[in-house]
């Protein structure tokens, strides 16, 4: 208060002269933007929606341009690399065709034990006969006194006790047969082989362990037929060559996951985008007619839409599949598309009808009518542009639900069936080997989730950008 008073005391006569105040208090401070320009600016501010948009563009590139860059046949089976986890490019040594190995039998050593010992000691000198490869692992050990045979076990971790030796492979039935050849599903992993001597019947409590890591091997003929080498001339046995590269691993039939994901994306995104596009289009026409003409016509149309909504969606998706004569196990992309369109349109129709009914009563429509606008003009110039926002949002949200439907049906074996890959049918195959090879489920599931997520977030962003009033409750 004192501050004001001191300043007040300094006031002079001039201060009380009339001041010129500006007349135009209000002025437009923002440039005028069209509805879509404004929406685009708002969408750009929404970071999540923008990232989602980039992801969707990325997915489109993955689907369309991907197969041009990654020229691998999604149906080609790479039997050397079945259920491979994602990894860097692998190399293999070239070996000759498999040749029988007669094993090692010690002459002069008794095949039957001379006497039965309480405990037979563990064999010593356990080693591999030659370089272990995925073609074969050949084990040799020194004979043990009192042994009438040997059992061979294989484990993928180091055994702690005798109960922990792992997979029983087989063995020999004589004390002087001291070799074993393992050719059972060998992969490029570390194995722990255990040799347990027996007296011919019972196992000893002593055993010997050997850690073996076989090298990936490929026969020269195989390499030739698969195009890994051009000629057999300059490739000797023991050379290393590069195998096919599977960045995302392979599935249970040795097919390249990346190539299959790309081909699967075509099916999933085709259904996921084309079906909603078609049924939204149909919904717009249906709802538009109902809303624009109103009255009994509207009542009749909407009653029918109500009935269609009441049909249990997934059950009828399956019924239509049968109705189209698609047997179980047959792939039905187009029937699924048609079924989705037949069952999906009512939601859009209701929405558009509501919008049209609302817009029809707006003042500017009345004004345009008074000015002599034709039906045609009203629909093209006023009604369609004003419903576009709602329609765009509906379309964006319809995509994830269609993708979900495809995945769901394919997963229970009622949609796209093998060998045609779709993300859903790949999940169906992947879930069977989920425990041992999780990547076969993970990748298709990941792609479904990311796609659905991106479309959902984009839809949220569009809703906010276009109009806060559009925020519907479902």
């Amino acid at each position: 208060m004192t501050d004001v008073l001191t300043r007040e005391s300094r006031l002079n006569e001039d201060d009380f002269a009339p001041a010129q105040t500006s007349e135009s208090v209000e002025q437009i401070s923002r440039p005028s933007l069209s509805y879509w320009q404004d929406a685009w600016i708002r969408l750009k501010k929404n970071k999540r929606a923008l990232i989602s948009l980039y992801i969707i563009i990325g997915l489109a590139l993955f689907t369309l341009a991907g197969p041009l860059l990654w020229r691998v046949d999604p149906a080609l089976q790479d039997l050397n690399q079945i259920s491979q986890s994602p990894s860097m490019p692998k190399q293999a040594i070239v070996v000759g065709p498999y040749q029988r190995w007669r094993g090692v039998t010690i002459e002069g050593f008794p095949a039957e034990p001379d006497e039965y010992l309480d405990t037979i000691p563990a064999p010593t000198g356990l080693h591999t006969y030659d370089d272990p490869t995925t073609q074969s692992v050949r084990l040799v050990w020194d004979p043990v006194t009192g042994a009438g045979g040997y059992n061979v076990y294989r484990n993928q971790r180091k055994p702690e006790t005798i109960n922990d030796l792992g997979l029983p492979l087989g063995g020999t039935l004589a004390g002087n047969e001291v070799s074993y050849e393992d050719r059972l599903n060998l992969e490029r992993k570390t194995y722990y082989y255990s040799i347990v001597p027996t007296d011919g019947f019972d196992e000893s409590s002593q055993y010997a362990i050997l850690k073996v890591t076989p090298k990936l091997a490929i026969t020269r003929d195989d390499a030739l037929t698969r195009g890994l080498i051009d000629t057999a001339d300059n490739v000797a046995f023991g050379d290393t060559i590069n195998l096919e590269f599977h960045p995302f691993g392979t599935d249970y039939l040795g097919r390249d996951m990346l190539a299959r994901l790309m081909q699967g994306a075509r099916v999933s995104l085709f259904i996921g985008i084309v079906a909603p596009f078609l049924y939204v289009l149909f919904g717009i026409m249906y709802g538009g007619f109902a809303g624009y003409f109103g009255g009994n016509f509207d009542q009749l149309l909407m009653r029918f839409a109500d009935f269609v909504v009441a049909l249990p969606f997934l059950l009828f998706m399956i019924l239509f599949k049968i109705a189209f004569g698609i047997g179980p196990g047959e792939s039905g992309v187009f029937p699924m598309l048609i079924a989705l369109v037949l069952l999906g349109w009512p939601a859009t129709a209701r929405l558009v009808r509501g919008q049209v009914l609302q817009i029809r009563e707006q003042g500017y429509i009345q004004a345009a009518r008074l000015l002599g606008a034709t039906h045609h003009y009203l629909v093209i110039r006023h009604i369609i542009p004003n419903t576009m926002g709602v329609i765009l949002v509906t379309l964006t949200f319809a995509v994830p639900s269609a993708i979900f439907t495809e995945a769901f049906l394919s997963f229970i074996g009622m949609g796209v069936a093998p060998p045609t890959p779709s993300w859903g049918s790949m999940c169906n195959e992947g879930v069977k080997t989920m425990l041992s090879h999780p990547h076969e489920l993970f990748f298709p599931a990941f792609f479904i989730s990311v796609t659905v997520l991106a479309f959902n977030l984009l839809g949220d962003g569009l809703t906010e950008a276009l109009d806060s009033r559009l925020r519907s409750r479902d």
């Binding site: 208060m1 004001v4 008073l5 300043r7 007040e8 006031l11 006569e13 001039d14 201060d15 009380f16 002269a17 009339p18 001041a19 105040t21 500006s22 007349e23 208090v25 209000e26």
Partner: protein
């Protein structure tokens, strides 16, 4: 200081928004005595609702923030209390009713239950006692068939009836002060009169004070003992109702008066709108808030905030440089100006 029932000094409230801080209330002082009606008048957005809502602790914080000032009720501070302490006076010593009765009552609870709730919480009544008392309260606000109405839901009431129920609810604990935030704005004109009459009658019988927030000078003339005129977050003029109407000392008060329709027949006197719009409260003007719209604006007004000048030896006060002793004297301040 504390001879007044409610005394507010130098209250300042601002809101944090994306555009910056909005200084909605900028140093407001007023008081209310027992049994009187204070009307706070001003156009939309001048900060009158924010003022009373901040007293009641109804400002959402954040974004709202009380930046300065104090408010004492019977000598005790009530500003910025935590909810538990605030609830000792909210609904007990100060009752409040709002602009739109249609949305101000819970749509899924019966009217009776909503009134009973207050009684059960503050008075420790049992549900049955509270409900009986609720019916009495509804009767007191002239709601016919109160016992049946108490069991009904808000959507079964008309707007006027709902405002009566709101009043009944706010009276439940016999408050010393009733804050009425534009109580008749959302109602039909005929209903308005009934509600105002009811409030005046209840004020007499209950001996309570009323703080009436309105932009309608007709309501002010009818109800108020004293008036505070608010503009751009400040009180620009206070005085008794007669002083404000017949000896208006601030050009804004005059502007409000001349913008008010009256039923007096006069040919030459058309309604005079106040041109322009209130200042931007993101960066309030340094000088008088009304400067840009004032027909009497002087050079001093632009950069110097006018202090409160006493107009008479009563409590009639105006924040306007025209009241300075050096200012040019004119007999009559009009909106049309010179």
């Amino acid at each position: 200081m504390s001879e007044h029932l409610l005394e507010v000094t130098n209250l300042g409230v601002q809101f944090a928004t994306y555009g910056g801080e909005v200084k909605a209330v900028r140093g407001v002082d007023f008081y209310v005595d027992k049994g009187e009606t204070l009307a706070i008048v001003g156009e939309s957005g001048c900060g009158k609702s924010v003022t009373v809502q901040s007293l009641m602790g109804l400002i959402p914080m954040p974004p709202g923030k009380i930046t300065s000032g104090s408010a004492t009720l019977n000598g005790k501070e009530i500003l910025g209390l935590p909810p538990k302490q605030a609830n000792r006076f909210r609904g007990v010593e100060i009752g409040m009713i709002f602009q739109d009765p249609m949305t101000s009552l819970n749509p899924t609870m019966t009217i009776g239950d909503q009134i009973s709730e207050t009684l059960m919480v503050h008075r420790g009544f049992s549900y049955r006692e509270a409900f009986t008392r609720s019916i009495e309260l509804l009767e007191r606000t002239r709601i016919p068939e109160a016992s049946r109405r108490a069991k009904q839901y808000p959507f079964e009431f008309s707007g006027g009836m709902l405002q009566r129920a709101m009043i009944a609810q706010s009276l439940a604990c016999n408050p010393a002060i009733l804050i009425a935030d534009e109580p008749t704005t959302a109602l039909d004109v005929t209903i308005q009169a009934q509600i105002l009459e009811l409030m005046a009658e209840l004020q007499r019988t209950e001996e309570m004070s009323i703080i009436l927030i309105t932009h309608d000078l007709a309501v002010v003339a009818r109800m108020a003992d004293r008036v505070a005129v608010m503009y751009a977050g400040q009180i620009v003029e206070t005085g008794t109702v007669d002083e404000i109407f017949y000896e208006s000392a601030h050009p804004y008060t005059v502007g409000l008066k001349e913008a008010m329709p009256s039923n007096r027949v006069s040919r030459d006197k058309a309604l005079m709108p106040i041109l322009g719009s209130p200042p931007d409260l993101f960066s309030p003007p340094k000088g008088c808030g009304y400067y840009a719209r004032c027909p009497h604006a002087m050079k001093v007004c632009k950069h110097n905030l006018p202090p409160s000048f006493p107009i008479s030896d009563t409590e009639h006060v105006a924040r306007c440089w025209l009241q300075h002793e050096d200012a040019p004297k004119s007999d009559h301040i009009t909106q049309a100006g010179r």
